[in-house]
């Protein structure tokens, strides 16, 4: 994928097309976008790298250009759980939107990723200057809040198998790419990761995936999952047996 256009100097310059298609910026003029880009810092993160950490000073906000992120919380006891995933085109680390001074969770690159970021003081500029930017951001926040509530209720009421099925489906919906076999989750996921999304153990997840594989619902290799019969998973997650 092409993200960077080399300028005459050997300093890479970001291309306007990066932002023009994304909701938070879609109504802006080219010069506006140019200005926003010129204020941004672009950076690459390799798989497993931390973008920012829970509790640290929230001095920048981010936009994911390419890759996938996990947003994670850790308990004092060291257990961690994955609160949500971020896909390309989404804003994240937008603590400033909520008047927070620290990040409420940690972001980790689930795959090699590229993100733009801006210093937090620009947040109020952006929302004040660019019509629709604030609106879109809050919409994002709203749906994210909804997602988390959804996860919470699942966690509280559903048995492990349903939760795991729901988690897999959520990843498929967010990042599924069609293959000849079925729909593949576009970023690396370990059994451990799934257990961190569902509050169970990697053992249990492994058993479930094995069972589903036998039943012809999924195919999986290391860190990769292809869902061949999504409908079956929906059935499992609904308990509509």
């Amino acid at each position: 994928m092409l993200f960077i256009k080399l300028a005459d100097q050997n300093v890479p310059k970001l291309d306007e097309s990066l932002l023009s298609g994304l909701p938070p910026f879609s109504c802006l003029t080219r010069p506006q976008i140019r200005k926003i880009l010129d204020q941004a810092r672009s950076r690459r993160y390799e798989e497993g790298a931390e973008i920012f950490r829970e509790g640290h000073e929230a001095d920048r906000f981010f936009l994911l250009l390419d890759g996938y992120l996990r947003v994670v919380r850790t308990t004092p006891g060291g257990d961690q759980i994955i609160v949500l995933h971020i896909s390309p085109g989404q804003l994240f680390g937008i603590a400033p939107a909520l008047q927070r001074e620290t990040y409420p969770a940690t972001s980790i690159a689930a795959a090699e990723s590229i993100a733009l970021s801006w210093p937090v003081r620009l947040w109020s500029d952006f929302t004040a200057t660019y019509e629709g930017f604030a609106t879109e951001s809050y919409k994002t926040l709203g749906s994210r809040l909804g997602q988390i509530q959804q996860t919470l209720t699942e966690m509280a009421t559903q048995a492990v198998e349903k939760r795991v099925a729901a988690a897999v489906l959520r990843m498929v919906n967010q990042s599924g790419r069609k293959t000849d076999k079925g729909i593949e989750i576009a970023f690396p996921v370990t059994r451990q990761n799934i257990s961190d999304m569902t509050g169970t153990t990697l053992h249990t997840v492994s058993r479930l995936l094995s069972a589903w594989e036998k039943a012809g619902i999924v195919e999986s290799t290391r860190k990769h999952i292809v869902v061949t019969a999504p409908h079956q998973l929906v059935v499992i997650s609904n308990g509509t047996d």
Copy 2:
């Protein structure tokens, strides 16, 4: 408590002091508050009454004046879980702030309650006109998001006893009132309610409370709980045994 001051006519008129102390309105002048109040609808809800329901059109936003609310989500299967509690002085039902057109959860009065509300179209007026209103609202939202994430991680990683202890502590912190015996939760809570907060059953909660009562940590009667040894509960919820 006195909330209503009767005007010359027999139409009740809301007193400015209602709002002047609350963060979202604290920087406003009296005439501004007067105007806000005049646009508000005030209403009483009895215990168990529904203020609004998940999925319904979000046509108003609210401020709780007195009482306590439970914010609840229900699964297709009929299980419900309590996402958070609202105390007096807090805004709620602020779906408009997130550009949502429907409420993401249901609000139920945990005790007899009084709330003000405004039509959703005023939201943009408020945020545009009154400096600090938006800021405060988003701060509220931010801390609420944090709370839910907190609950989620607990739910995913902690054993039942810790979760229940944490839930009781959260209620105590939010609405505890000192009594001669200890700190009392200020609104009615059933075992069932607590189990709905923690994703367990009323049986398990009952057993735990009985055990804690024997250990001298709490005293409880029907729908009411007094914590006599908060520190012990903290110990239980941390696992710092």
